[in-house]
């Protein structure tokens, strides 16, 4: 079938989203996954953005940003960041979210802030990064507040790391009950959907293991693209290809085909 890895990821992520959820979506793949889910199997999904755009659907293609006119043309409410990130996310009210990651570690901690030759935790100093990324944005709020959330990341060894350079958004920290001890209201990441497969946290250790892989890859490739010693589920299986119906619905959201180009 003719689809890109990103489209595949968006569909798999979308399948994780349940009907009726109050869900906060960032631009790009997260929005695509969310609106795909709404048109596919979750008609009562309640998506919103961190700027407080409610009740809207993208118009004319995927938005360039949270505040883009493409998502502002048919909203039922515009409020503000205090409302969306504070009252709905940090409060623990939102059910779900989809966030991206430049680096993610075995406990689901995310780095979207910068890349260092010598990360702060290693040298005990906070020096300028070699590469500056975007900072945490609202993802950090989502990571502590949402009941649950999904992480999307490109599956490469330099991104799926034993330990990230900088924790922008907390996952399960050092595993076990280390997150619980922090007392966050949110439950932590439910899954990592990568370009190669689906990873879930072990209920006890909170280490992410491979639950399923995509049809165009192998377990060996996934392991080779992961910096930590990735554990494989005993029931590991290949994920079903997207159906024609799913692809059609996905592309009805991404009308300009911005995610149909291979990266």
């Amino acid at each position: 079938m003719d689809y890109t890895k990103q489209e595949f990821m968006a569909i798999i992520t979308g399948r994780e989203i349940k009907d009726g959820e109050l869900i906060i979506l960032g631009v790009g793949l997260p929005m695509l996954a969310g609106y795909f889910a709404r048109s596919n199997h979750a008609p009562n999904l309640r998506p919103f953005t961190e700027g407080g755009v409610y009740g809207s659907s993208p118009v004319g293609g995927l938005p360039w940003g949270i505040e883009c006119n493409r998502i502002s043309a048919n909203a039922t409410s515009f409020t503000n960041a205090i409302d969306a990130l504070g009252f709905l996310v940090l409060s623990g009210r939102a059910d779900n979210a989809v966030i991206g990651a430049a680096q993610v570690d075995k406990y689901g901690n995310i780095n979207t802030t910068g890349i260092w030759d010598e990360p702060p935790w290693k040298v005990g100093k906070y020096l300028p990064p070699r590469v500056r990324l975007n900072g945490s944005g609202g993802a950090s709020d989502i990571s502590v507040g949402c009941k649950s959330y999904l992480i999307m990341a490109s599956h490469e060894k330099r991104r799926f790391m034993e330990k990230v350079d900088y924790i922008s958004s907390v996952g399960f920290l050092t595993g076990g009950d280390s997150r619980e001890k922090c007392g966050f209201v949110g439950g932590g990441p439910a899954a990592i959907i990568s370009t190669l497969g689906i990873l879930r946290p072990d209920p006890q250790t909170k280490e992410f293991y491979l639950e399923a892989y995509f049809p165009f890859t192998t377990i060996e490739e996934v392991k080779a693209c992961t910096d930590w010693d990735l554990k494989i589920s005993q029931d590991v299986k290949a994920v079903h290809e997207p159906t024609i119906e799913e692809l059609k619905k996905l592309r009805a959201v991404d009308v300009t085909g911005s995610l149909r180009k291979e990266d």
Partner: protein
């Protein structure tokens, strides 16, 4: 009430200075932002700025690219789908600009706390992660315990963090419509503009349209920024270009990418400024630079209907010129 219309040159001359704590009143990276005001700051050579932005935008990207920013506090520094902010990131990685990171929610709450004049805001985010442990202000301390110190809930004994609140010297806030007294209506999400307008010691509005006060009296619940807290009003249509202003224009996709690309190097930044920042001396010249074709294209926005209820109150350029002359001398 006092007519507060100022030209953009006057507003920047009167309300900005080297070393100030400056706040660019924006929505999100691609949204409403007082970009024209930032360009005028570049023209007037402002430097050593301490910039507090809830979120990035092309304004802070440009100010950092020209080397005007010593320090910045931010929740998100990028340009969303338009990419990383090349000029800002160059300034950060080179060590020119010290960058202090928080979450977007944290920045919103820090403005709220500033507006309340609180000593601190309870922190349930940006703790137990590197936003707490890493501080650009105290780079030798890791984990740092001065940036977001610990506090104890007196009711339960549980531990939380505490954020410093924000009280900027000046905020230049982009709004869709303002009257000449400083009452303003924003279309689209406010992001933190409401709280910022109360947290800042001085507020300059940069308005795409000037409307009669009758418009405010018809829609008082829409007037979230009030004359009581505003010091100056600048009339500048397409002030957020190349970003968007809901109801009025879309972002200029081509120029967004181009501008960001030019911010990558010092030389290209200078070339960009020569052509796009310093190459106009009036709003007419600014519009001519953008060009009729582009203006027409971005003005065909799917959000245009949001402006319909207010059109009858929009003041004409001639009227505004006259009102502006009244504030002189």
């Amino acid at each position: 009430m006092q007519n507060k219309l100022l030209s953009i040159e006057e507003a920047v001359a009167d309300y900005t200075w080297d070393g100030m704590t400056y706040c660019n009143g924006a929505a999100l990276p691609v949204g409403s932002c007082s970009i024209a005001f930032g360009k005028e700051m570049v023209k007037q050579g402002r430097k050593n700025l301490n910039v507090i932005c809830h979120c990035g935008s092309q304004q802070i990207n440009l100010l950092a690219a020209v080397g005007a920013v010593d320090r910045v506090e931010v929740g998100f520094s990028g340009l969303e789908v338009y990419g990383f902010a090349a000029g800002l990131n160059r300034a950060v990685t080179s060590g020119k600009t010290r960058m202090e990171d928080y979450s977007n929610g944290a920045m919103a709450l820090r403005f709220f706390g500033g507006a309340m004049n609180w000593p601190f805001v309870p922190a349930t985010v940006s703790i137990h992660n590197d936003q707490q442990w890493c501080s650009a202000d105290y780079p030798d301390e890791y984990p740092c315990n001065r940036k977001i110190p610990e506090i104890t809930d007196p009711f339960t004994g549980k531990k939380y963090g505490a954020f410093r609140t924000i009280r900027p010297d000046v905020a230049a806030i982009h709004v869709t419509m303002a009257d000449i007294y400083g009452n303003a209506i924003m279309l689209g999400t406010e992001w933190n503009r409401f709280e910022m307008s109360r947290a800042s010691k001085k507020v300059v509005l940069v308005a795409d349209q000037i409307v009669h006060t009758d418009c405010m009296r018809q829609y008082p619940n829409l007037v979230r920024i009030i004359s009581e807290v505003v010091d100056a009003v600048v009339y500048w249509p397409y002030a957020a270009w190349p970003q968007a202003s809901p109801g009025l224009y879309d972002s200029d996709e081509e120029h967004m990418f181009y501008m960001n690309k030019m911010m990558k190097t010092e030389a290209d930044t200078e070339a960009y400024c020569d052509q796009w920042v310093k190459n106009w001396n009036s709003h007419e010249e600014y519009m001519a630079l953008i060009g009729d074709e582009k203006i027409e294209k971005i003005s065909k926005t799917a959000t245009a209907f949001l402006m319909d209820p207010y059109r009858k109150w929009i003041r004409s350029d001639d009227e505004i010129r006259e009102l502006q002359n009244m504030t002189k001398g």
